[in-house]
């Protein structure tokens, strides 16, 4: 098993995909963090303390800043795309035969792949933390606002972000395993995560439904990262489940997709 995991990790780091996506991630996470930090103490996002999370710097505001692009649904697209591509490229470039020849017990092989996806997910999470933390604190420091780097809420967000990245990458992996066609899988996954999320959010708000939106992956991950109310209690009830409920539901999505995909692939003819 150790050899299979090493092989899968080596596969990830021997093409340009991982750092290409990582560059995009740094730009987006760092950019959104810097943008959010620059809004602190201003009325750009409104004068109402219940709806402008940046009016006063709170623990929740810090979490929002350091979660970076998660709030705009942009950051998660990177681990999602990574997960999709890592599995679909085996089909696209017909390397899946060699992979299974080296490790014919397919479920074992797929488990090794999952471990490799977890590892790269953690790497992405760390880089995201560095980008969001770096750009966010830089702007806050320039503005003379508190950075909340001494707060446990901030460090919780930095730590949970690793889990969030792993979960998004696994979701992509499971999705790719089911769709297999790389182009279709990438466009479908990004389309669902970005556009369908926005469309469903609008539908749910028109219908005045408050629980279904909590099950949307984007809201699950924001709910994991931003556990304190950024408006300092002015905003009313939280739109998210609690941290570990979010994590459990998200993990459920990832496990169902990956499990079903693995089971189907373990029975497929590879020709």
């Amino acid at each position: 098993m150790g050899g299979a995991i090493r092989a899968e990790v080596r596969k990830i780091f021997t093409t340009r995909l991982w750092w290409g996506l990582l560059l995009g991630l740094i730009l987006v996470s760092g950019g959104v963090s810097a943008l959010f930090a620059s809004l602190v103490g201003t009325t750009v996002a409104g004068r109402n303390p219940a709806s402008n999370p940046f009016l006063i710097m709170t623990e929740g505001t810090a979490q929002l800043i350091y979660a970076g692009g998660f709030v705009y649904n942009l950051t998660p697209l990177f681990p999602l795309a990574l997960g999709v591509i890592l599995i679909t490229q085996e089909f696209r470039h017909q390397t899946i035969s060699a992979t299974f020849l080296a490790r014919p017990r397919r479920v074992e092989l797929l488990l090794a792949k999952v471990v490799a996806v977890v590892i790269i997910g953690v790497v992405y999470g760390i880089v995201h933390d560095l980008a969001a933390g770096g750009f966010g604190t830089l702007v806050l420091a320039i503005k003379g606002e508190p950075t909340f780097l001494g707060s446990s809420a901030t460090w919780q967000t930095f730590a949970i972000s690793l889990l969030t990245f792993v979960l998004w990458a696994l979701l992509g992996f499971g999705f790719g395993l089911l769709v297999r066609n790389q182009l279709a899988a990438v466009f479908l996954a990004l389309g669902i995560a970005f556009i369908a999320h926005i469309a469903l959010s609008i539908v749910f708000s028109i219908l005045n439904w408050t629980t279904p939106p909590k099950f949307l992956p984007d809201n699950l991950s924001v709910g994991m990262l931003v556990t304190h109310d950024p408006t300092g209690g002015a905003g009313g009830a939280s739109p998210y489940f609690s941290l570990w409920v979010n994590a459990a539901v998200f993990l459920g999505y990832a496990v169902v997709l990956s499990g079903l995909g693995s089971w189907l692939l373990s029975r497929r003819d590879i020709s």
Binding site: A7, T15, L17, H93, Q94, L101, P104, D269
Partner: protein, 310 residues
């Protein structure tokens, strides 16, 4: 009886694969003996790749079994160390270098990076090893595939159309390569849709058409009896003289005969005695290509993939 683990035998037993209603491999049985090069021949679409993929656990047979050393491929603990394989339609990530491709496989095989470099040398592509595989020629891809197959130093090699895309120089190189591996006592099963590609290389042949076995045996059987071509001033008189000397012959064009013997000296002597001038005299093997064609394209074996539209 399971064969010796260090000299594994390949046994295919009543193997059948149907894709929907189409029977790609039809009740196929054969064995491949250790230490020999066996050519697995048949026209395109005969079912060679499907058979090899079933043997390697990539395709699930509809019925029947295929084992290597008595066990299915997927049950071998360290498969790369027992069986090396290079299949058709297996690719390389275009953005990964050849060396890194091998290193990935070396991780699962449990062999060192040094072995990777040795294999790159062995197949003659060390210079391209650090280049991205997307830029490789077909011949380089075939060589990289062979290097991958050899990584675990396996006793058994299964190669699907390894000569495809090779230039004549490459085919000559492949021939030497396989001969060398065979001299080390390895078992090699090599498929091809062209008999000429492998006729000088293989010890045994296994010919299939439309998913069924049509012939199995040593290559020498296929060559059959040697014949000679004789071009002369008077073919009719020579034929009669040969007949008298106990050598059958048949006309082969304007002024030539095909004599059913490989003994050129004898024909020359007969011609001299009969006062017939010889213009050409040479030995010829059985016409293998013709034979291959007859075996695989005879009415009952006519290629189903080329059938007339109904």
């Amino acid at each position: 009886m399971p064969s010796q683990p260090d000299r594994p035998q390949i046994v295919v037993d009543r193997l059948t694969k149907r894709f929907g209603g189409f029977t790609a491999v039809d009740d196929l049985s054969f064995t491949v003996d250790p230490g020999r090069i066996t050519g697995f021949l048949g026209p395109n679409g005969a079912g060679k790749t499907t058979t090899l993929r079933m043997l390697l656990g990539l395709i699930r047979p509809t019925s029947g079994t295929a084992t290597i050393g008595g066990v299915p491929y997927a049950a071998i603990a360290q498969p790369q160390r027992v069986v090396g394989s290079a299949l058709e339609a297996t690719g390389f990530h275009p953005g990964r270098s050849g060396r890194n491709h091998l290193r990935v496989l070396a991780d699962t095989a449990g062999v060192t990076s040094r072995r990777v470099d040795e294999m790159l040398d062995l197949v003659g592509i060390p210079a391209a090893a650090n280049k991205r595989a997307g830029g490789y020629s077909m011949g380089m891809r075939q060589r990289l595939g062979l290097a991958a197959a050899m990584l675990g130093d396996p006793q058994v090699l299964i190669l699907d159309e390894p000569a495809n895309g090779l230039d004549p120089e490459g085919i000559r190189w492949l021939r030497g390569f396989l001969r060398h591996l065979s001299s080390e006592g390895r078992t090699i099963l090599v498929s091809s849709h062209m008999l000429q590609e492998v006729e000088q290389t293989v010890d045994d042949v296994l010919i299939i058409a439309n998913g069924s076995l049509v012939k199995q045996g040593p290559m020498s059987d296929l060559h059959g009896e040697a014949t000679s071509l004789v071009r002369s001033s008077d073919p009719a008189r020579l034929a009669a003289a040969l007949q008298e000397a106990g050598v059958a012959s048949s006309p082969a064009g304007e002024d030539a005969l095909t004599a059913l013997t490989g003994d050129l000296r004898r024909i020359g002597d007969v011609a001299l005695t009969a006062h017939v001038a010889l213009y050409e005299l040479r030995a010829q093997g059985a016409d293998l290509e013709q034979l291959f064609f007859e075996l695989t394209e005879s009415p009952e074996n006519a290629n189903r993939n080329l059938g007339e539209a109904s």
